[in-house]
């Protein structure tokens, strides 16, 4: 076979394989759309969530994913049109903050996601409309004792970086001036 033709064939095969590899997971599940009744969720309250354009008659898990961790809201099944409409309960201990409402298929693939907010619990109202600061610890100016996630690998890499930077700096400063 002509070498150029052979190379071209190999390239075509490679491109085809890459395309298949990339395309295969994309078609594993239909990507759907989530539409909650409100994007501001309240802990201890329920919210209606509608879904559409998912795989027909599939089982999906709805989860809130945020920096505080994941909160499983429940499991839903899609109908013959790939849609659902359910009311899920947001557990009372859910920490306020920004979350992603994620729908995952039974094999763990994420098939839809939406940014939502879990609002802080509403302070108990009194007859007096002037509500003072919510019941929380008095703020202080003292820094928190943060438990850093830095492991020995990160510390070691930083120390190596520092040593290299010192060596590079010293090396550059010790070289004589080149003439103009």
């Amino acid at each position: 076979m002509h070498p150029r033709r052979s190379a071209s064939k190999r390239l075509t095969t490679l491109v085809g394989l890459v395309a298949l590899t990339v395309a295969a997971p994309l078609h594993a599940h239909e990507k759907g759309v989530l539409t909650p009744a409100s994007r501001e969720l309240s802990p201890g309250d329920s919210v209606r969530i509608a879904g559409a354009r998912f795989t027909r008659r599939a089982s999906l898990t709805l989860t809130l994913v945020g920096v505080h961790g994941s909160v499983r809201l429940g499991q839903v099944g899609t109908d013959s049109a790939g849609a659902f409409d359910v009311a899920v309960f947001v557990p009372a201990p859910t920490a306020p903050g920004a979350y992603r409402l994620v729908a995952t298929a039974s094999d763990g693939d994420e098939v839809a996601a939406l940014d939502v907010v879990v609002s802080p619990p509403v302070a108990a109202h009194t007859q007096d409309t002037h509500v003072t600061a919510p019941a929380m610890a008095m703020p202080t100016g003292h820094p928190l004792a943060l438990d850093q996630a830095r492991g020995p690998m990160v510390t070691g890499a930083v120390v190596v970086g520092i040593v290299l930077a010192l060596a590079a700096g010293a090396g550059l400063l010790r070289r004589p001036h080149p003439p103009l």
Binding site: V159, A165, L172
Partner: protein
């Protein structure tokens, strides 16, 4: 081919020199320009570069919404292996940038580098100093902790005093975007873009007006750059080590209506002015500093008596600032906004 001694010979090197006009940085500068006091501007730029790189990584983990900001800072500081250290590096680099920009300013001031024809160079530097303060303030606000909430409350109070020019800092500027999110936009786009533009002007003027070092120009500029790179690496090592040894603080989640913290140290001189003069001090102290810096090239044109008076005034101002920072750091906290303590 006429190769200069000391320059590595190689096709790739020659290609780079030719295609990227690297010979243009071989212009002569005085030997005294290689002293450390002429490197301070370049070292400030190095600190800003560290800030830019670490900041780009941190933005991937930061949530600029008021409800998610604090949690995302705690998350990146405690749950992701390297971002905690990167945040510490970011904060220490900010401190380094403030110290270096002031040292640079003081060195240029002392040698009269603001005089004709370098007035534009000086004024662009003064504006860069203002932008460094702007970055430090917006960066503090993004933490959304108690110190941040109080810093923003002070800025909002100041914005109310100045009226229309402070409109952007008012929470009621628009109901569509929270103040924190707008401060984030300033921190990551508006201020850095302004800084790059001013830095480009600053470097352009240095190239065309020359450095203010005395003596015959016979040292190639690339030699100056090489020394600057050497000091730059040492700076990287120092801030990286500080970030490793002394992590940046974070107070509890911010609660409006309390004054229990002091500001980030570069603002302590303003805090001291507030202690002495109330909220007017917050505007007066920066007004005096930046007013002095802006007027210096117009007042001091090199006449001996004026030059001496300007030097005395500048040194007095710097000593007062340092004294005010020390005083504010040691003095007990005070209420400036009439909030609870």
């Amino acid at each position: 081919m006429n190769q200069k001694p000391g320059v590595p010979v190689g096709a790739a090197h020659a290609w780079l020199r030719h295609r990227f006009a690297l010979d243009a940085v071989d212009y002569p500068v005085p030997a005294s320009a290689s002293r450390l006091d002429f490197m301070l501007g370049g070292l400030t730029a190095t600190a800003l570069a560290i800030l830019a790189v670490s900041g780009i990584v941190l933005t991937q983990f930061y949530d600029p919404s008021p409800l998610g900001a604090y949690d995302s800072v705690v998350y990146l500081a405690t749950r992701v292996p390297a971002t905690g250290w990167l945040r510490d590096l970011h904060v220490w680099s900010a401190s380094a940038a403030v110290v270096l920009v002031f040292a640079h300013l003081a060195a240029v001031f002392w040698r009269g580098g603001f005089r004709r024809p370098r007035e534009g160079l000086w004024w662009s530097g003064v504006l860069l100093l203002a932008l460094v303060f702007g970055m430090a303030f917006t960066g503090t606000a993004l933490r959304a902790d108690q110190e941040a909430v109080e810093a923003v409350a002070h800025a909002v109070a100041g914005a109310q005093i100045v009226g229309a020019p402070g409109a952007l800092l008012r929470p009621d500027f628009t109901p569509s975007s929270p103040l924190l999110t707008r401060l984030y936009a300033f921190h990551v786009s508006v201020l850095p873009l302004a800084m790059v533009a001013l830095l480009a002007l600053h470097l352009w003027l240095i190239r065309h007006l020359g450095v203010s070092a005395g003596g015959q120009a016979h040292v190639p500029f690339r030699s100056h750059v090489r020394l600057l790179a050497g000091f730059g690496f040492l700076l990287v090592a120092v801030v990286a080590a500080l970030a490793l040894a002394l992590p940046a603080g974070l107070t509890a989640a911010g609660v409006d209506g309390y004054e229990v913290t002091k500001p980030f140290w570069p603002f302590l001189w303003v805090y001291a002015a507030e202690n002495l003069l109330g909220m007017r001090g917050m505007l007066l102290a920066p007004g005096v500093l930046f007013g002095f810096l802006a007027l210096v090239p117009l007042v001091d044109r090199g006449a001996p008596r004026t030059a001496t008076a300007t030097r005395i005034a500048g040194v007095t101002l710097l000593v007062l600032m340092i004294a005010a920072i020390v005083y504010a750091a040691l003095a007990p906290g005070q209420r400036h906004l009439g909030m609870d303590m």
